[in-house]
Subunit: 457 residues, 2 copies
Amino acid sequence: MKLLFLILIAPLISYSQTNDSIFLRKIYNTALSKGEAYEDLRELCKTIGARISGSAEAAMAVQWGEQKMKSYGFDTVYLQEVKVPHWERGTKEAGWIRTSEGKMLKVNLLALGGSIGTNGLLEGEIVAFNHMDELKKASKSQVQGKIVFLNQAMNEQQIETFRAYGGCYTIRGNGAVEASKLGAKAVIIRSLGLAIDEHPHTGSMHYADSIPKIPAAALSTQDAEILAQILKKQKANFVFEMDCRDYPDVVSYNVIAEIKGSKFPNQIITMGGHLDSWDTGEGAHDDGAGIMHCLEALRILKVLNYKPINTLRCVFFMNEENGNRGGETYATWSKSRGEIQLTALESDRGGFSPRGFEVDGSEKYVTFLQSLEKHFEPYDLSIFRPGYGGVDISPLKRSFEGIPLFGFAVDSQRYFDFHHAPSDVFENVNKRELELGCAAIGAFIYLLDRNYSIFLP
Amino acid sequence: MKLLFLILIAPLISYSQTNDSIFLRKIYNTALSKGEAYEDLRELCKTIGARISGSAEAAMAVQWGEQKMKSYGFDTVYLQEVKVPHWERGTKEAGWIRTSEGKMLKVNLLALGGSIGTNGLLEGEIVAFNHMDELKKASKSQVQGKIVFLNQAMNEQQIETFRAYGGCYTIRGNGAVEASKLGAKAVIIRSLGLAIDEHPHTGSMHYADSIPKIPAAALSTQDAEILAQILKKQKANFVFEMDCRDYPDVVSYNVIAEIKGSKFPNQIITMGGHLDSWDTGEGAHDDGAGIMHCLEALRILKVLNYKPINTLRCVFFMNEENGNRGGETYATWSKSRGEIQLTALESDRGGFSPRGFEVDGSEKYVTFLQSLEKHFEPYDLSIFRPGYGGVDISPLKRSFEGIPLFGFAVDSQRYFDFHHAPSDVFENVNKRELELGCAAIGAFIYLLDRNYSIFLP
């Protein structure tokens, strides 16, 4: 019986696999020979550039995204209102090391996102810690009235740079609170980057309700190294000015395009990245590349006249960087409309050479993901394993119990050279690497759609 | 019996695997935290730069390599004499398109390596072919007295860029011969590169004994596209001058370092890349990165006090680019000394993010290679398959029957943006990507040494 079944079914499987294989090849060929992602990214980076939530650039990016999606003729394109925080760097931002010998050295610094300003020039003696744990163990008398310098470096021995980032994230996110608890008047951190260079890296930080707010900034890794060297020999002060501050929330939008499901329009497969960026560089890798990956994937499926079984939805999320309001709004909205979110995919690790996909989901989905690896052998993808989906899509877990979330994995080695830094510009994205990412996501979304039944609740 | 054997042997296997695993981690940690490859590459690129065989720079590079190897305290460091060809670009190199309307456009071009000069300004009507096969099918009357323009593009739909290069190589290698057969007075080719940019890419070409030699040059892909557009609308001439030419052979050297085998000093495991480069850019990826990979691998094994079973030999081969005299000399020399060459590894695909290893050898060695994959799982290497070794080590096959040759495989997407072009400079090599390559090779050579018995004749 089983043998007979296999004999009967084998040609069908083989036919279907061949069809998949041919279709995947078409997706790749289109991305590599008739791709639009690279020029779209150039447009976003060069005509708009950095686009932090609440800024004029973010508003223009919303318009740009909507127009671009409409130009591709998807079934539906619409905006989804999101109230976002509005923090501005201001116009004053400069810092110096003043050694005990009276020498002044200018440093490259960026206020951390959400920091208060210094209210004019702020100067204080520097007290340095090589690790967050050292600061936590310090006494008030060590820190009181001083400027804390957190010189914790990302661990270069981690092969996956995201792990190194995760291990160091706390100095940026929690440095101000921990320093302020001990009476510090400001905190400066070593930028979260693996390269030793002149670019400071900003990023989100937070304050706690009962702890006084103090200004927080990141020095370039190069300046952090110089400062550490100075402090080995003598005391030093840090002097800086920043006039960054919060403004009232602003109305902004997620930007959404869909190809309606031919059989199950209420069953949704979501893919996306974030449209906002930090207010430095051009948000090219983070996350211009990610939204181009998804937009181009949907465009290619349309160009190839693919009629999806379920609705394929591409979302340019707003405000991933400092609030995730777009992701939160989207999950709540989708649930309230009675949609069935089958699964979601996020691309937010840069436009580098693709390596594969990770899944945040139950064992069943890990096995499913691994079953897809064979389709990608011709394209040299090898990462098909449990892992992380993405920040924007993570609120879907709250709204849709058990939903598996996929994360697009690319080569991570260069990502933190550019992440949240002035160097995150279009020129640092490679055309082929970006295009291969678009193709991989197009192919993956196609396979998710074809195998949708595994995602049914 | 078998079961008992397994019970007895299992802890040993496990112990040995754990030891391997710990040692590999040490190799990676050393490369990533105490690496010298990046600064060594900077030195080679910035104090010497491009170093074509026979040039003063190549001679200085030999001295630099010997000093560097000696500074690391290997058991033996020596030079191996190699007679190399000596071709020079000269000082005149310029080209223009002259349209039938009389408009002149300057192009970026590079003489192909080995080309004759133009003997003053050379001008001729352009006859264009989009593929080598078109030229081969052309008649004498179409080509006679004209300048052939071979505008065959690398196939961007190939995922492995080396395949795309292989498919297009003939326009550079054989273009002059094929054009001259039909009476052309010169040949210009579209550069072998996937990006559309302003950099021309040089590389080797050849002449045939009975066919008149004609000048050969490569235009940047951007200029090739412009020229193709012009030719759609009107005829055009090409005008250029080059004073490149051959000189008599020059004495040069392979540069060699060894750690002697503690048990079998006459059994050799060779690893290497090539010290020479083309005479443009700085030979950073091609093949500065490759020789740094191997030098650093050997240095790390020494620093970690590893006592190899067999002799580990790092060779900086001379003259890979236009003759492979270094590789030929080495294979003959090794054979003549009665050495047992167990196997060899080459790194000559750039300093990009490592992907794994290929083997050019019998099925036994493919299986062996695949058995090594597990060791590299923590380091995200996934290519362990049949493939190519490298040009420098290929003559070993002639001298040592059945010898398996390993090639180090890195991400290939960006390689042909830099290959043989002015853009192949130090700044385009990423520190971490280079260091991960050094570690991968160090680990691989260690595993080859530990498993040497499989290579015994």
